[in-house]
Symmetry: D2
Subunit: 136 residues, 4 copies
């Protein structure tokens, strides 16, 4: 099952070429993740602030296929592409209507906030992720 968030390009998010400045897509992906985590009932502030589990990104891959411009709205479809012991890879697909504009794959690891050593994903969170695993 994929989760969908809809965003609109804001005034300051474009670049000199008039399209979304691409680092901002990673910000959109992050915002989508936060909305997703809230949606599944395990919000980021709980994971990081309460459980003191860090969730840094260790690998990113992205393809940008079609420009997104100022004023455009677009959907970010997000799912769990791979689930490891102490890592999870989210898959993202960006659509402007039916037009696929980009895809991304972002891998997080769960770490002890103090030591930054990897620790297993908490079992409750793992169960929630499993519901959103989607074969590509």
């Amino acid at each position: 099952m994929a989760y969908k968030a809809t965003w609109r390009v804001s005034f300051g998010e474009i670049d000199y070429a008039g399209i979304v400045y691409y680092p901002n897509f990673f910000d959109y992906f992050q915002r989508t993740e936060e909305a997703f985590m809230e949606h599944i009932g395990f919000p980021y502030p709980y994971l990081i602030g309460e459980l003191k589990i860090g969730f840094p990104i260790v690998h990113v891959e992205a393809d940008f296929k079609h420009p997104v411009r100022y004023g455009d709205s677009f959907d970010v479809n997000m799912s769990v592409a791979h689930l490891g012991t102490s890592s999870v890879t989210f898959g993202f697909r960006v659509f402007k209507g039916q037009q696929l504009c980009g895809t991304a794959s972002i891998t997080h690891v769960t770490v002890d906030m103090k030591t930054f050593k990897t620790i297993p994903i908490p079992s409750e969170l793992r169960a929630l992720f499993e519901k959103h695993v989607q074969l590509k």
Copy 2:
């Protein structure tokens, strides 16, 4: 005595109108402050990380007079405009060559990092600020 930092407009910093997205000027002012604090020998990471003194902004005023575009370099002149017991107001002037593009006035307070209650500016820092007071 004013302190001067020089910046160049980067690809993602402009807006749909082709000029610097104005919130980015506050980011430039912050970067200038950090360079200034380093320059006077009292770096931000020392103030906040070591002394655990917060330095939040309580008041901002800015006038934008002339657009700054992609590829432009500009100078930010910074000085201490007012020095209070637990507050300091920095003055900023943005120049593109001889062209004045904007001015700003930014007031910080020194606070206990935990309680966010105001505390006096440390005397060592006060002495350093005093050297950079400039009548408008």
Copy 3:
């Protein structure tokens, strides 16, 4: 009549002190303006992209009274505080629940996109702004 937009602090928007990096508030104000303009039926992309009318900011004042932290939601109340021939000043108030966290006043001018000379606010837009004038 005030317009209200609700925002949530995102992961990358805080600073080293753990509170919203204040330049981001101006980004929130901008996003609120864009939502407001859409709400009143005169979207930014129409003003700038179609009518080729620039809408740069010439003056900003802001007071930050109470910190906003990661995970917080907050409301931005926006109204038209002053309406001139070729300028409009929007007033903003930031609330976290009942707690007033900040206020701001932001003045735009309408300009010819090519020359950056001021031109009168289009009468249709003026009429829409008038409906949202609010005495402080």
Copy 4:
């Protein structure tokens, strides 16, 4: 031959976990590219503003190995990893002192600014890129 740019983590660039908010690394890479293009004598504003050649990013891969914190300085080493007819892939390595903190590979294509169709890299620019090709 690699090109090196040195950056310092600024106050607003970290995230709730106290490390550089990872989308900001892509902003650093972009800034490094702009410095590189200026260094080789073919600045971005010339490419895009004068020649009207767009240079969008079509593929990104990055690995983050070690956190970078507020106050840290770091080097970004950049080279040309692959040179195609209408595409160039830059390789990036992020070092904090001798500590490798991350690597990235970013592929641009040259496009006609109006149509966003790919066009060959201008021969003068190709010659300059060739000088900076570095086998991994």
